[in-house]
């Protein structure tokens, strides 16, 4: 009796383990199921590989919501020649190994014409070779690592290379503040290191000096006082932070605690989030935020000139999703644009010739809600750079 029960439980466990081994995926929105396309006709499924669980889940949720809205809008406007597009969202947990598993699943699905993913250069670049070899266009909303486009012609970044953006940011800072001293505190990831090098080159090229740099492992520590004490000793005029919003908030608060009030704080796009302000309160006043990301808080939207297309999307997104906690932000904006660009290209160029599809995507000839962008001669994506500051605990556009 005991042996039979044990045997049954064991086989149940094996079945559960095997089914759990697969990656969680769910198709959402639209009418047709992913497997119902007949051979020879257009493909209808847009895949997404984003972190829906794990430490990065809020970014993945923004991406998914932005893309969902885009797919709904596109289908409402007629879809691909009358057929609805289906969005298939896969959870890669913000983990490189999981992203590769997801990629293998996506390339096996014949109805998928493009994939949007992932969050974070390290994760995207881990999965990219799988998509490149399978000839699947990969649109990455925020991957700014300079080596990403070199992985292949299927790679379409929707974010500029760090050297393009932060070289410009470094130059602008040197022009605005004169030839002064800058300290850089950066996270020890692909994004952090490339941003540091780009800012350093731009800043020093325009006359400034980078007096010290300090690195940290993101999400591992909350205590930045050793680094900030070392930085304070070199007496910088500007402190440039390359960090996610939680580490950035800790750094900002601790810099104030150590009495570094006369140092100008400058942050990168990842700090352009309401959550950052929730953590810092009014201690971030006067901080500069420079990059290609825009902020879409109510205060900024009232005085902005982002255009009616963007404003309408922001309004509808907030109506639909803001009750879940996270309002429209730059991540949702770029995900919206990525999805729109992919679907419009599929409509105009068809999905059977991937080279033509990629070329059509790169034309970026539709309205974009995240700001102007185009692919230059050398293949780099160029976007406008925005400057924001914080006043009275709220974001303000400069």
């Amino acid at each position: 009796m005991k042996k039979t029960i044990a045997g049954l439980l064991a086989s149940l466990m094996v079945v559960a383990a095997l089914s759990g081994c697969g990656v969680s995926g769910n198709g959402s929105s639209g009418g047709n199921s992913a497997a119902s396309s007949s051979s020879g006709s257009e493909k209808h499924t847009l895949a997404m590989s984003v972190p829906l669980t794990g430490t990065m889940m809020q970014y993945g949720t923004s991406y998914r919501n932005g893309a969902e809205l885009a797919v709904a809008d596109f289908n409402a406007a007629g879809g691909i020649n009358g057929e609805d597009v289906v969005l298939a969202v896969y959870d890669d947990k913000g983990d490189q190994k999981e992203a590769i598993n997801v990629a293998n699943i996506i390339i096996e699905n014949d109805d998928i014409f493009a994939v949007i993913g992932s969050y974070g250069s390290s994760v995207s670049m881990a999965a990219a070779p799988v998509y490149q070899e399978a000839g699947m266009p990969m649109i990455s909303p925020n991957t700014s690592h300079p080596d990403y486009p070199d992985i292949g012609d299927m790679m379409i970044p929707m974010s500029c290379k760090s050297e393009v953006v932060f070289g410009e940011v470094g130059r602008t800072l040197a022009e605005e503040f004169g030839p002064c001293k800058m300290a850089v505190i950066y996270q020890n990831t692909d994004v952090g290191i490339t941003t540091l090098e780009a800012v350093k080159e731009g800043f020093e090229g325009a006359g400034g000096t980078v007096c010290t740099t300090e690195t940290f492992v993101p999400n591992q520590t909350k205590d930045y006082t050793p680094l900030l004490s070392s930085i304070k000793q070199t007496d910088p005029d500007i402190l440039f932070m390359v960090a996610e919003y939680n580490d950035g908030a800790s750094i900002t608060l601790q810099a104030q605690q150590l009495g570094m009030d006369d140092v100008q704080l400058v942050g990168v796009g990842n700090l352009f989030k309401q959550e950052f302000l929730n953590l810092t309160g009014d201690k971030a006043d006067g901080m500069l935020l420079m990059g290609i990301s825009r902020i879409y808080t109510d205060e900024v939207m009232e005085n902005s000139d982002f255009g009616a297309y963007t404003e309408d999307i922001v309004k509808r997104y907030n109506e639909k999703y803001a009750s879940g906690g996270v309002a429209f932000d730059n991540f949702a904006a770029i995900a919206y644009d990525s999805a729109m660009v992919a679907m419009n290209a599929a409509k105009n160029a068809g999905t059977n010739d991937t080279q033509a599809l990629v070329a059509q995507i790169k034309k970026l000839d539709i309205d974009l809600c995240a700001g102007q962008a185009y692919f230059a001669e050398n293949g780099d994506l160029i976007r406008e750079i925005f400057t924001f500051t914080v006043e009275d605990g709220k974001f303000v556009m400069k």
């Binding site: 430490t55 020890n188 690195t215 999400n219 591992q220 205590d223 050793p226 004490s229 939680n246 605690q257």
Partner: protein, 292 residues
Amino acid sequence: MFLQQLINGITIGSTYALVAIGYSMVFGVLELINFANGSVYMLGAYITLMIYVNMLGNFWLSFALSLVLTGMVGYCIDRFGLRRLRSKNVPKVTGLITTLGISQVIEHGVRIFFGSETKAFPNMIDFGYVKVAGATIGSSQVIILCTSLVLMICVSLLVYKTKLGKAMLAVSQSSEASKLMGINVNGIISLTFILSSSLAAVAGTMVGMYYQNVDASMGFSVGMKTLASAVLGGVGVLPGAMVGGLLMGIFESLGASYVSSGYRDAISFAILIAVILVKPTGLFGHKQINKV
């Protein structure tokens, strides 16, 4: 700057000490490393925040409630996760893996229920700063240090001066003999878990106040470091855990400022390895002699 980093190190080290005491006590009575202690530390901070923000407006009441609730979670870990394993006489490693699983459940459960974004934590003990010999000492640091010291003294008094403490020491020497002496071994073990979880909750809340934010992954790295502190001081020895925690905090702070901030954790663990190579039972530990 040395003084500043020393003070920072002692502050954070005292919170490590509180969690390390938990590891040491549980290892003492059960010979089991309770990996869930790190997650309970994080859970304590989260429960305080959630009760304070969503239900009551009174922080100290929320803190007290959180201690009770976290203690209950600790009790449940033992009662439902580990007691049946003990009665079946399974190898010790099974219990260890169970606690590892529980820590993952707690961490991801918190993430699903409360969201994965970092949350702001109110600092109720911020009464200003004092400049002493070039270093800035905050009121939060002083209060954290004092609270940890008081708690450590209380735990030591409990373990070495009361009958209950004697029972705990007896169980950690031999649970068989303790049963023969009429000690309720299961009760003592549950009490140990409740105590270690409550201490971890205190540490978690204090760290939340100090850094003014909490997030679901803070338990994991602290769990590793405090386990290392307990080993450094000698597992099973209470004063060892306290000293180990303080030392770990100091090494981490000084290592981060004088060697490299990227390698702060590596430095702490390297020192641990060096100590263990020289004295395998830890600083205060003694060799287990199995007399036949």
